[in-house]
């Protein structure tokens, strides 16, 4: 398949600590196609942000491979690695800490060009930066302002402009709107969607907000304790979830209509997420799962299409249960 721009195979990241290895990401296979958005959801500590850092090269994988347009990043060296890195950029979570407060907006957005001088467009860095500001909906005349002179939503636009400077094909968005007001979230999401259409970008969109992910994603991967437990297109995950964890997550999405409140399928999970330094044997979700059988502790369920799950699901007892159904 030639239109796969990003692919991971058996991606693993273990952090060594005194208590043993923390398995933040433990065997993740993903595929991202051109112009597509892949949503990654899961609760705090499931390895979403580590996955994002691995994808953009901020962390080195302990195992597995990351392929950008077929090239294995781990095999690339020197200038070819730099070129491949340019192709995959990131929008960070917190717009208040991801911009250097001592640099002007022009310097921040122009920094990619300082680091990669061969990427500067012919009409010069200054013009390029102003075009980027215009592209993300900011006033190009504000090039000499400092980040503290902007609001949260505007700062996130600056972060997006920086990510776009090197004309990447892939952008990893690590919780890009979770630090923003709800009203601003919609603006930034719409900006990201517009940019995707205009520039043909592919997104890996990491979030814990399920409704935001539903809005923007073509495909969704649900993560739990460093592994993907369910993977499918938007309809499959939201309307026909088969993994108990996905069902529990979806049942926790707030209902906007107060008259329907409390009448929906509610699944309460007991206990906390187990420590990733010492994950449960077999199925990692079994300690909190109402379907767990003794066999779940011995046989690890693989992420695959099952008898009652038309899309890949990592549960021995995968079965469709529409928790989002309206009564």
């Amino acid at each position: 398949m030639s239109d796969v721009v990003l692919e991971t195979r058996g991606l693993v990241k273990h952090f060594k600590t005194r208590a043993g290895a923390v398995r933040a990401v433990d065997g993740v296979d993903l595929q991202l196609r051109r112009g597509e958005t892949l949503g990654v959801v899961g609760e705090s500590g499931c390895g979403k942000s580590t996955l994002a850092k691995l994808l953009v090269g901020l962390e080195k994988p302990s195992g597995g491979e990351i392929r950008v347009r077929g090239d294995n990043m781990a095999r690339l060296r020197g200038s070819s690695l730099r070129r491949a890195r340019r192709n995959i950029q990131m929008v960070m979570q917190d717009p208040y800490t991801s911009l250097n407060p001592r640099m002007t907006v022009g310097d921040i957005i122009g920094e990619p060009y300082d680091i990669h001088p061969d990427a500067v467009p012919q009409h010069g860095k200054q013009r390029a930066v102003q075009e980027l500001l215009d592209l993300v909906g900011l006033n190009p005349d504000h090039i000499n302002r400092y980040p503290h002179q902007f609001s949260g939503g505007q700062r996130q636009r600056i972060g997006i402009a920086r990510a776009l400077a090197l004309r990447p094909e892939i952008i990893v968005c690590d919780e890009p709107v979770s630090a923003l007001d709800v009203s601003i979230q919609a603006q930034v999401i719409n900006l990201l969607e517009g940019l995707q259409r205009r520039l043909g970008l592919s997104y890996v969109f990491i979030a814990h907000d399920l409704s935001v992910v539903r809005h923007i994603s073509d495909r969704v991967a649900v993560m739990y304790l460093g592994k993907i437990v369910e993977y499918g297109n938007q309809v499959a995950i939201y309307d026909q979830p088969t993994h108990p964890y996905t069902q529990a997550l979806l049942s926790a999405v707030p209902v906007p209509d107060p008259r329907l409140r409390g009448r929906r399928d509610h699944i309460m999970l007991s206990g906390d997420v187990p420590s990733p330094a010492d994950p449960p044997s077999g199925c990692r979700f079994r300690t909190r799962c109402w379907k767990a059988q003794p066999g779940c502790a011995e046989h690890e369920p693989l992420l695959q299409i099952r008898e009652r799950s038309p899309h890949p699901s990592a549960c021995h007892f995968a079965e469709i249960r529409d928790v989002m159904r309206r009564f």
Binding site: V56, G57, L58, R82, R85, R86, Q89, M90, M92, Q93, D94, T97, S98, L99, N100, P101, R102, M103, T104, G106, D107, E111, P112, D114, I115, H116, Q126, N139, D141, H142, I143, N144, R145, Y146, H148, G159, R162, L166
Partner: protein, 303 residues
């Protein structure tokens, strides 16, 4: 649109679109509106002028002492009177600024260079380099300052011909860098873990760019404040060492020496003790206020 442009130009009057106003320019704009800065700067300028050209302030010679004038009151040019040896207190105080300021600045520079290097290295490298350097700082802090300074200054100023300036500079510099290094180290560690550093690293920035473009500008201001305070501390330190007899000596004239010499006679004539002390305190205060104002100006988060 035109409104927005108007706001931009009003805020940045001195810049074209092509020349972003730098951090220093911004800080200067901010400093100009602070009273404390002007008071402190005026005091510092006066002291520096005194140190560079004492003859601008007095025509008297501090070495021109007549026992006949012992502890005499103010008269003519000697507005502070005369000390127990009959020397002009005003002239001695003015001339004393030079050695005090030279010693303080040179010692602070030495401490600053060592502190900056050690702090940056420990904070940026982390791991065993950090552990080693941090324990070394702990060892240095374990040395009682006065004991260390007396031993070191005595050792360094064994030459009876010298006036002790170099010995005092080295002593204060070598013993004074620890606080600055610690502050630098912790500031570097907190700056290094910021998201914008990760963002630059992701873009492929090398260690030099990370260090000097991102980490250093965001961690230098507490270090500058510590150094400015250290200037004051070193002026006081020189006075202490001189008072104890291991500092400046011979033909040197300094506030510390003057305080040491006139201390025993303070009950019969207070002025020869009070005036150098006032100059000393005012100078220390001026440097500390200046450091504070500069810190505030360089911190965009406080604006």
């Amino acid at each position: 649109m035109s409104d927005l442009n108007a706001v931009t130009t009003a805020e940045a009057p001195a810049t074209d679109a092509g020349k972003p106003r730098g951090l220093a320019g911004d800080a200067w704009l901010d400093l100009r509106s602070r009273k404390v800065f002007w008071i402190a700067a005026a005091l510092v300028v006066v002291v520096l002028l005194m140190a560079a050209w004492p003859s601008l302030f007095t025509s008297a010679d501090p070495g021109d002492c007549l026992l006949a004038r012992k502890n005499a009151g103010a008269s003519g040019g000697a507005i502070f009177g005369y000390d127990f040896q009959g020397c002009d207190v005003y002239a001695k105080t003015v001339y004393g600024a030079r050695d005090s300021v030279v010693v303080a600045i040179a010692a602070t520079l030495i401490a600053g260079v060592i502190g900056l290097f050690v702090g940056l290295a420990a904070g940026y490298a982390g791991g065993w380099i950090d552990a080693l350097l941090s324990r070394f700082i702990d060892v240095m802090l374990g040395v009682p300052f006065l004991l260390g300074a007396i031993v070191l200054a005595k050792r360094l100023s064994s030459d009876p011909e010298s006036n002790g300036v170099v010995a005092v500079i080295l002593t204060l510099g070598v013993l004074g860098w620890t606080a600055a290094a610690r502050v630098m180290r912790s500031a570097v560690i907190s700056a290094k873990n910021q998201d914008y550093v990760a963002a630059a690293r992701m873009l492929g920035a090398g260690p030099g760019r990370l260090m000097f473009r991102h980490i250093l500008p965001n961690s230098i201001s507490p270090f500058i404040v510590v150094l400015t305070i250290l200037l004051g501390v070193n002026i006081a330190g020189e006075a202490t060492l001189s008072y104890l007899g291991v500092g400046l000596k011979g033909d040197a004239v300094s506030w510390g020496l003057a305080i040491a010499e006139t201390g025993p006679y303070a009950r019969t004539a207070a002025a020869p003790l009070v005036w150098p002390s006032v100059f000393l305190a005012a100078t220390v205060l001026a440097f500390i206020m200046l450091g504070d104002a500069v810190r505030d100006a360089f911190d965009p988060k406080l604006r």
